[in-house]
């Protein structure tokens, strides 16, 4: 790659000089650190399943800050932003369809359920209701 970069020993990124700058970067850093503090603090508050949402929302805001300011996407050519978005979009598609499958799996059981076949333990969440397949007394003790 260095051949053409060496050939390109002169390029003027007109316009980019006007953007960014240490002051803005410092502000971005401070915002990122504050958000980190918030996300750590939020972890000590029990919000049930809300914790994951809060943590991931804050993480996404932080990632956006990094992408927009540190990675210059805010001022860059739109094609780069489109490429970056595409990556996350298709990752989202992947996650979404996997979750769609997981959340709506049909679990069947034999009428006279006798436990899993051979030494193959049943996966959690696939046990018939009312029948505890896997318990961890030690862990449950800890919770109480």
């Amino acid at each position: 790659m260095s051949t053409q970069t060496e050939i390109a020993d002169r390029h003027a990124q007109a316009g980019e000089h006007d953007h960014g700058g240490p002051a803005l970067y410092a502000k971005t850093l401070i915002a990122l650190l504050i958000l980190t503090a918030i996300t750590v603090a939020a972890a000590y508050v029990d919000l049930g399943s809300g914790n994951v949402v809060v943590a991931l929302t804050i993480a996404t805001i932080k990632a956006m800050l990094v992408a927009l300011f540190f990675m210059h996407l805010l001022w860059d050519k739109p094609v780069n932003a489109i490429i970056a978005m595409a990556g996350f979009l298709f990752l989202g598609i992947f996650l979404m369809f996997c979750l769609l499958d997981f959340d709506s799996r049909n679990n069947y059981f034999p009428a006279n359920f006798k436990g899993p076949a051979a030494d193959m333990p049943l996966a959690p969440g696939t046990a018939p209701q009312g029948q505890v397949i896997r318990t961890n007394p030690a862990a449950e003790g800890e919770k109480k």
């Binding site: 790659m1 970069t5 996300t39 750590v40 992947f94 997981f102 959340d103 862990a139």
Partner: protein, 227 residues
């Protein structure tokens, strides 16, 4: 000439997208396994040291800042500041790895290891019955007697640590690679090769470094803060 800069940048962004999807596969795997073992994952994550994760987050954020400052200095043809900030970035990367080293060695000592090497005794979780796969085909083991308690096993716990080591390990590998390219850029910067007319390598390494930071931004809450 600007053409070449733009081309390299598109190339870099495309590369970053492949990195996002590479890590993304692991994130999806982690998500699915967490949906499968919600309780085990929460219990297992309590073995991670939250302050170490938070410290590393701060270190990486600062390194991202010093990196962008180095790019800024290159853009302004300021050699000394460029070298200084690149060096600071490398220092931050090294601090990150040192903290990781302490984290890892603690995990090794306690037996919080990936997959079948998980040997932690503290939770008193009985191990799964071991099965030799090659035996199974010719000589299947007898079905368990009715009413016999189903064996508990370390499945979810071991899986959590498998993902922990895979994802932080892959990330750590990227940090290492980052240190290598940063050093290369530092040497070239020290020779005064970069100026406002040509700073493509600094810019591209910067993009890479920010992505590594960005991945950690997601790793940190997922591993250290889940409830």
């Amino acid at each position: 000439m600007e053409q070449q800069f733009d081309t390299s940048k598109i190339g870099m962004w495309l590369f970053l997208v492949t990195e996002v999807l590479l890590f993304g596969g692991l994130f999806v795997g982690f998500g699915m396994m967490q949906a499968r073992y919600p309780r085990e994952f929460v219990e297992a994550h309590e073995h991670l040291t939250r302050w170490q994760g938070a410290l590393n987050t701060v270190v990486l954020l600062i390194s991202s800042f010093t990196m962008v400052m180095a790019v800024d200095a290159a853009k302004k043809s300021n050699k000394n500041r460029q070298v200084l900030f690149l060096a600071l970035t490398i220092v931050c990367a090294c601090i990150f790895l040192v903290v990781k080293y302490f984290e890892y060695s603690h995990k090794f000592e306690e037996g919080w290891l990936p997959g079948r090497f998980y040997s932690y005794k503290g939770d008193s979780i009985p191990a799964c019955p071991g099965v030799n796969p090659s035996q199974l085909a010719s000589n299947p083991p007898p079905a368990p007697a009715p009413g016999a308690p189903v064996q508990q096993c370390t499945n979810g716990y071991a899986t959590f640590f498998s993902f922990y080591f895979m994802m932080t390990g892959l990330h750590g590998f990227h940090i290492l690679a980052g240190i290598v390219v940063l050093t290369w850029v530092l040497i070239r910067a020290n020779r005064g090769e970069f100026s406002k007319n040509y700073y493509t390598p600094v810019d591209l390494v910067g993009l890479y470094w920010h992505l590594v930071d960005m991945i950690w931004i997601y790793l940190f809450p997922l591993y250290y803060l889940i409830q």
